[in-house]
Symmetry: C2
Subunit: 141 residues, 2 copies
Amino acid sequence: MNLDDVYSILTKNGYKLTRQRKVLIDIFIKQRNLFLSVEDIQKEINKKGMNLDLSTIYRNLTVLENSNLLCKIQNYNSNLYKLRTMKKHHHHLICKKCGKAVSFEYCPTDTFSRIAEENGYTFTDDKIELYGYCNKCKNNL
Amino acid sequence: MNLDDVYSILTKNGYKLTRQRKVLIDIFIKQRNLFLSVEDIQKEINKKGMNLDLSTIYRNLTVLENSNLLCKIQNYNSNLYKLRTMKKHHHHLICKKCGKAVSFEYCPTDTFSRIAEENGYTFTDDKIELYGYCNKCKNNL
DNA sequence: CTCTTATTGCAAATCATTTGCATTTATATT
DNA sequence: AATATAAATGCAAATGATTTGCAATAAGAG
């Protein structure tokens, strides 16, 4: 999933490639494996000497989400986003300090499905999130 | 976990048993296995012909959380709460329609821990949430 | 019964996110 | 390359969930 892939998916879906959209995509690509908050994103934009209105950021996050280009997790009060790197069903291992995420495919779906059935539920979907400290962060907590 | 258990835990922690706190606890006990939003809670209170200020509800949710009496999950924009019924580490299977939850203890911690290590992470905690439709809701979607 | 301190209700503040609208811009079309 | 049109932007204001300050009230210890 590189810049051109993202661009062509957006174009295919009828979205325009605006200057602000490109900036946002660039940030996600450069921080490929980090979960970013909207605040983080705005800071990265500012680092480039630019500024996008928050509404523009939010609207573009929705655009990327709609094109299935993002992974999203909830963190306390706000959401965190990263570029989707895996097409398959997967979950994340997330560093509690820096937000760095690793995707993994392990998912005991059969067991989940069985648990649901045993309780009279129809199983539809699962969410697994693992938390810990990454390589770098575990050394300086 | 019955009324007296909750009362004695709160008392032990230095909290007073106010009329409004009792009402809230009563609702959680009667809806023992449902995840309730703050809005749901307020409606239940109104059903009893009473009214509690939202700030009172929020403050008391914090009190119950601090005493480790609640399970909390995030739902889109708001939080959902239910009385904790299991002391052990557990996760939930939640009905997407009515919010009814079942707790289960299954958790492949060893595998999670291994995945973390393989990626250079120190593993600290996990979250599993299963979603589906309960007995009642699956028949009338 | 009284005193102390926690708790409440209210109003206002806060924080994340969304929306209306006039203006601007990307891009398909001439 | 110039133009038309629909989408996207920035701004300001709205929204919705949650929090906070404060004066008034009530729980419960003595």
